[in-house]
Symmetry: C2
Subunit: 421 residues, 2 copies
Amino acid sequence: MARVVLKFGGTSVGDVERIQRVARIVAHARNGGQPLAVVVSAMAGETDRLVKLARAAGGETPNSAPAGGPGFDDEYDVIVSSGEQVTTGLLALALRQLGIPARSWQNWQIPIRSNADHAKARIDSIDDGRLGAAIDAGEVAIIPGFQAVTHEDRITTLGRGGSDTSAVAVAAALNAERCDIYTDVDGVYTTDPRITQKAQRLARISYEEMLEMASLGAKVLQTRSVELAMAKRVRVRVLSSFVEPGEPNPGTIVCDEEEIVEKQVVSGVAYSRDEAKVSLLGVEDHPGVAAEIFGRLADANVNVDMIVQSQARHEGRQNIVFTCPEREAQRAADALAAVREKIGYEDILIRRDVAKVSVIGIGMRSQVGVARTMFQALSQRNINIEAIATSEIKISVLIDSAYTELAVRALHTAYGLDAVG
Amino acid sequence: MARVVLKFGGTSVGDVERIQRVARIVAHARNGGQPLAVVVSAMAGETDRLVKLARAAGGETPNSAPAGGPGFDDEYDVIVSSGEQVTTGLLALALRQLGIPARSWQNWQIPIRSNADHAKARIDSIDDGRLGAAIDAGEVAIIPGFQAVTHEDRITTLGRGGSDTSAVAVAAALNAERCDIYTDVDGVYTTDPRITQKAQRLARISYEEMLEMASLGAKVLQTRSVELAMAKRVRVRVLSSFVEPGEPNPGTIVCDEEEIVEKQVVSGVAYSRDEAKVSLLGVEDHPGVAAEIFGRLADANVNVDMIVQSQARHEGRQNIVFTCPEREAQRAADALAAVREKIGYEDILIRRDVAKVSVIGIGMRSQVGVARTMFQALSQRNINIEAIATSEIKISVLIDSAYTELAVRALHTAYGLDAVG
């Protein structure tokens, strides 16, 4: 039978009762003998507790910025990785209580290898030999997510949210039919159901669309895990860990676009309020000035998103407008102020009451008029567009954040995504 | 320079501040470059927390008897062993804060191998190659105590108190000059200082004496660790973890008796109140009856200590009296009641208000009159002796527990152990 990988996050394994429910879900999925590997996170709260201890011992007060840097991250990984280890043992015991053969597999026992980039390592190989044989023989394998070991046998962690990535990597190594990510939502929606009750769960979504959704703030799956799934062609299913086993729980399949027969022009409407608009006014119009500006911003670790260039009122000068995450706006302004002489601009303005609204769909590629529908829908509601950015499968607009919900609902309706009834 | 192993228990590493003090002690012991390995326990309370989780997931309510048996112990070990792993990382970070090069070494990284007797494994080999090279190069090695890995790379634990054993085993493998066990007392005393202020810290004690002291209730060192130290000829020093580094903290050296020039006839007076006296009265005096009785008790897992046989009032009958730990007395009586017919005794009595007081000393071997001194000292205080047991280096008597302190003080004085002034 085909192998399947299941993944449960920290909330799903938050206490022993929840771990026992996870055991029932796994027992049901096994259905008599399907080879299963289960990737688990630390119990909710554990990682935070361990991070605080590490920071305190590493000379930081709790809740301050991470100590980071050489001399901290390798032992931080030793400390923090213990959380998932505990969950693997507990789930193995809970499964045995249900009569299911199960055992934990620590990363070094498999091994799952990564580079030595502690606290943000990247998996580079997984030995599927013993692990695959064990699950094919009918024993459920429980694996701690979010971690690996280096080629020198040191413990690494993959960074926050790395458990999704672990699950997809294990699924790829085991050549699994599917990677089921159990989470606290029952799938991927056409938009945020808190904004409109007409939002619908998608049966399928392509990797590319999911990537745009994930990076736009639909926090269902870690972006890195979707990238890996796309690269390795692992079919991922997002579904709820709070549905009792046996009850309907189809979730959303994230897959290759070839598998999606009826391609929607627009599959979803995403939004993000974590945006700031930085306007550089009256920039001297000479060669290399844009390179200077965005080079400085990159050095200051500012994630620039949209960029708009326009003619200024004064002859020989231009305005350069860009967006970045809100918390990075002041850093951006400071970095540019430091080279004001060199760039030669008249003024710098930051606006924080802006939001980005995006429509996403692989059908866009073969369809004209998608942007026109968007602009019409917004203009009918008198919503002013401050900036526009497009990719092959996405159109984003920057608007006044007060209009976010209105814009999302208007676009959801305009692209025919509203649920019937 | 000669290698040294240091060991710190759960109370000594109970929180980050205490771990920082341990780091200062280690830094002081390193004294510029002495090769050091440090064995640590889980932070106080952690092991209990993890044991409760394991029992809950394994189908037991917290605080009940351990789930035990196959299907539990291997994953119990996975869960519980995580506690020490956390301490290793924290101490490594705290040492680096002091500018001391340090890293954690998990058991599988060394490796420290044991048999597959989960939850009560015995170490069978330690590879000292990479570990020894690392500490000789000046990097302090931090090792989680109480655990190992099997030859099939599964995690094991050594049972409660196994950290002392880990430390001694590491010291033996590294051919260390000494194994320093830091604990909450500052050494081994001639008797319990709570009973008499005249108790004195011993500068040295032999393995044999320490074994008798440990098993008699002077809970300074785990019996297993002393046995191992004796077998491998590892010099162990017991000293306080609450003395600031630099302050006098000589502790007690546990060593080969060859190293002890001035052998005391009696080195210490130990006592135990966890005793019960079980009297089988009027036992039929036929061959094999003693074998039957003590065979049944062994089957019932009763640890029999002293045994006294005497003539009963009735012709052809005898009384058999034995002692065991108090909590096992009822189990002992039940086991014997089940075979009353076969043994043929008239009555069975349990007395719980008894205590065992022992004098211990390797000098006894070459000295006569040691027992006489004991009996005289007790009879002068009108303390009745209910049973006597002797070994080469120990004489134990069973007395009414109300006289325990009186007996200990009397013997302490009689053997010249009282501190001057």
